[in-house]
């Protein structure tokens, strides 16, 4: 024995792997199944080196390979509506989809989850979630222009919610604000099933010229592979420690953090640097480093390009000099990008990086060998066909089984739940709903987000959809809304996904924008649980069919499995983002009631539908029966009317009717505005159903008297039910439901705005 200074562990080389082909490897600890490991050996004709094993394990993980969801997600591609084919410039499969919005402009947008990290370290988990999705958008060649965040937590009053929620909100805000991206919308939902498993889904949208799209491919032998941005550290490589201890002498525990800390300033600089590089047209391919870091970036670039790449891993700039190749390959350090640059462009590329003080290093070269090879200290440690990692991962048809309690759940409609019958009780029910955490004022959250930066925000929360002007010298705009409903989806996943889609679609149309495309984040429990897989497959089918019927394509998204506490899964929660376009942002329709004497119309049909409703949830803690009926043709018709009415200047305000029903919609528009409303319950309606039912396909609109005839004629001609239900009244600062109750706006506001501050300070 010598007492030599700490020695670097020996590196497992390709040569070594050929020689000692039967060496035991810790593939199971890395999450690879026996058959998967066998396939790797078959692909390579030998055992993998430990670096290769690291790469296969991350690239073939559920998160990166979509092995349980792939067979279902295919429907999104297969069911792309014909009408949408020519606007879809980039479809699913790239970092984010891109749609053509006319005038030479294109938009790219995508939603992604960061659920598990946000539970462990709420602030950093949420922050890096925003950072990751912004890089996806940037990678397409776009300038990121806005973010939205969809958040779900356990019960609002639970102590752990008091830990997680403020951290998540400060993380979303801290990162997005520091990047200078306006936050224009999102969701905030509480339900007990999210207590040990919050959902943090972040959406980013970017704008680019339609001819400026960048793709993740490494083409052109001789081109340089440049790693730029932050240095690589030991972040998020908990898994690699298994490798380290098994293949190296286990000399104490290696300290590798599971938590990543974000550096929004570094990302802001990286964005500006990339945009300058794009403007000068200096890259042939580009990829962000997200999950699976360098493993993912190198294999995806190589697999999509001319097929070969040689990397010298020693050249990767490190934050921590003790990292070994396996760790470098798995590290999820934030704020990094990889570009493919022709030798001619390299000097110009480097000069821009220098201007922005961004570290940039050539770490490899594109070739036509068809192999991805990597060297470390002069030895070859990786030699793989890149497609085998990036595209040819395992695919599973997981067992599917309807949950044992589904029929019982659907069969119990809660018919016995007592309903308020008197005016006083209806009023008390309304107040209780509006003060409940899911429906209360969200400004405790949204006031922590900058909605003004960039100076193009036309609408932001609490409006139905966020809207931004595409360019400051035009009036073309885009609108975005994101919605999900776990309770509806639990009752009927096919319908629940469609209801979420319908709501986001309706929210976009309510502002006057034409819905154009869809992104989605599918948050579910374990795919190994057949009941969860049933929920998942039904939700995907529902969403794909729904998009086809509405004529808008799914352009991308994200799947998050294993959202459960112990063996109890969260409510199945597909979160749907819909993007819309508006020709003239000055014609937008806001939600606020401001004009005295305007006539209030309810569009759509109201039915006795309380399955999964906020009323059943808040008042009775009950979940059962069927969710509201889905009628997507009706949603289309409603959207057409809202869009045309906005364009022709027939309406002054509009708000969609969803959670909490008509009463909540009226309350929100009054609270946002300056007038009260006098409402008459139609003779043939039950007041409770009229006020609180959650029937889909509805909206309220305020119509100036001068436009009333034109507006109602339009509805009649198109066959959309439109009922006059009241009038706006500037002198009456109350919601008065004639013959039932009169609720002063002040009292309403106190109930609505007090809830979150009381809970979170």
């Amino acid at each position: 024995m010598t007492s030599a200074p700490v020695q670097r562990p020996p590196v497992d080389t390709v040569k070594n792997a050929k020689k000692n082909s039967e060496d035991k490897q810790p593939y199971r600890e890395l999450g690879l199944a026996d058959n998967e490991y066998a396939r790797i050996k078959e692909i390579l004709g030998r055992r993998p080196t430990s670096s290769e094993l690291a790469m296969y394990s991350v690239m073939w993980s559920e998160h990166c390979s979509y092995k349980s969801s792939k067979v279902h997600l295919r429907q999104f591609g297969e069911k792309v509506p014909d009408a949408a084919k020519d606007i879809l410039l980039v479809g699913m499969g790239e970092n984010a989809g891109v749609v053509d919005i006319g005038d030479g402009w294109a938009v790219t947008f995508k939603i992604e989850s960061h659920n598990h990290p946000s539970y462990v370290e709420p602030h950093q988990g949420a922050a890096t979630g925003v950072g990751g999705i912004v890089r996806d958008i940037l990678t397409m060649g776009a300038r990121p222009v806005a973010v939205l965040d969809s958040l779900r937590f356990g019960p609002a009053e639970a102590p752990d919610t008091g830990r997680v929620l403020p951290g998540v909100v400060s993380g979303v805000g801290g990162y997005g604000n520091c990047l200078g991206l306006p936050n224009i919308g999102g969701e905030l939902v509480f339900d007990p099933t999210y207590l040990g498993n919050p959902l943090v889904n972040a959406l980013c949208v970017g704008v680019l010229r339609a001819d400026g799209i960048k793709l993740a491919k490494a083409e052109g032998a001789g081109s340089k592979v440049v790693l730029f941005g932050a240095r690589t550290g030991g972040d998020g490589i908990g898994g690699a420690s298994v490798l380290a201890s098994a293949s190296f002498e286990a000399e104490g525990e290696r300290k590798r953090p599971a938590v990543q800390v974000g550096d929004p300033f570094a990302e802001k600089v990286l964005i500006e640097c990339c945009l300058e590089i794009f403007a000068a047209d200096l890259v042939t391919g580009i990829q962000d480093l997200g999950a699976a870091g360098l493993s993912c970036a190198t294999t995806e670039l190589a697999a999509a390009g001319s097929g070969g790449m040689a990397v010298d891993l020693d050249l990767a700039p490190l934050r921590d000099q003790t990292l070994v190749p396996e760790e470098i390959l798995m590290s999820e350090s934030q704020e990094r990008m990889m570009a493919v640059v022709t030798p001619d462009n390299l000097a110009a590329f480097m000069a821009i990086c220098e201007k922005w003080d961004v570290t940039a290093t050539v770490i490899g070269e594109v070739n036509d060998s068809g192999r991805l090879t990597m060297r470390w200290h002069g030895e070859k440690i990786v030699d793989v066909p890149p497609r085998s990692l990036a595209h040819e991962g395992p695919v599973y048809q997981r067992p599917i089984g309807r949950p044992y309690d589904q029929d019982a759940l659907n069969g119990d409609h809660g018919n016995g739940l007592p309903r308020p019958k008197t005016g006083d009780k209806l009023c008390a029910t309304g107040l209780k709903l509006i003060a409940s955490p899911n429906l209360a004022d969200k400004s405790w959250v949204t006031d922590q987000y900058d909605r003004y930066v960039l100076g193009n925000t036309v609408l932001a929360q609490p409006e139905d959809a966020g809207m931004v002007r595409v360019s400051e010298d035009g009036v073309l705009g885009l609108a975005l809304a994101v919605d999900g409903n776990g309770r509806y989806t639990r009752l009927d996943p096919y319908a629940g996904a469609q209801l979420a889609l319908a709501e986001a679609y309706r929210n976009v149309a309510t502002t006057g924008a034409r819905p154009l495309a869809v992104t989605n984040c599918l948050n579910f429990g374990s795919p190994e649980d057949p009941a969860v897989m049933w929920q998942f497959s039904e939700a995907v089918r529902g969403l794909a069919d729904g998009c086809q019927q509405l004529g808008i394509p799914v352009t991308g998204g994200n799947v998050s499995f294993y959202n459960q506490t112990g063996r109890t899964p969260i409510l199945p929660t597909p979160v749907i983002g819909v993007l819309g376009v508006i020709d003239d942002v000055t014609r937008r329709t806001p939600m606020a009631f401001t004009q005295d004497g305007h006539q209030l119309y309810l569009l759509g049909d109201t039915r006795d539908e309380f399955g999964g409703s906020e009323w059943a949830n808040v008042v009775h803690g009950f979940l059962g029966g069927k969710p509201p009926k889905v009628d997507l043709d009706r949603e289309k018709l409603l959207a057409d009317v809202l869009i045309n009415a906005s364009r022709d200047g027939l309406i002054d305000a509009a708000h969609d009717v969803s959670d909490g029903g008509l009463f909540v919609a009226l309350a929100e528009s009054c609270l946002r505005g300056t007038t009260g409303a006098r409402i008459v319950v139609p003779d043939d309606e039950d007041p409770f159903v009229f006020l609180f039912s959650e029937s889909a396909g509805r909206a309220i609109v305020a119509v100036p008297r001068s436009e009333e005839v034109r507006f109602t004629d339009m509805c009649t001609a198109r066959g959309l039910p439109a009922r006059r239900i009241g009038v706006l009244d500037i002198l009456e600062s109350a919601i008065e439901v004639q013959g039932q109750f009169r609720l002063p706006i002040g009292e309403l506001r106190r109930a609505w705005s007090g809830t979150l501050p009381a809970l979170f300070g």
């Binding site: 950093q124 932050a230 590798r256 953090p257 938590v259 800390v261 974000g262 570094a266 003080d357």
Partner: protein, 76 residues
């Protein structure tokens, strides 16, 4: 009454963007010879003499530091 100091720093393996930003600025200030900077938090507490070490530790662990990403030291 006694003065207790608690210093909180990022765990060494965790990225410290704050320290990095300062290091970058030093060049512009024309100061050479600083190799590494880490920025942490410094708390000064005035505590009654009866406050025991265990409570102090709990205080640091739950309130002053975030043990997921930070380490702390107590100087009594």
């Amino acid at each position: 009454m006694a003065r207790v100091v608690v210093d909180v720093v990022m765990k060494p393996e965790i990225l410290d963007p704050q320290g990095q930003a300062i290091l970058g600025a030093l060049g512009r200030l024309g100061i050479e010879g600083v190799r590494e900077v880490r920025q942490g938090k410094h708390f000064e507490l005035d505590v009654e003499d009866g406050l025991d070490d265990q409570t102090l530790h709990r205080l640091a662990d739950t309130l002053l530091a975030n043990p997921v990403i930070e380490d702390f030291t107590i100087h009594r």
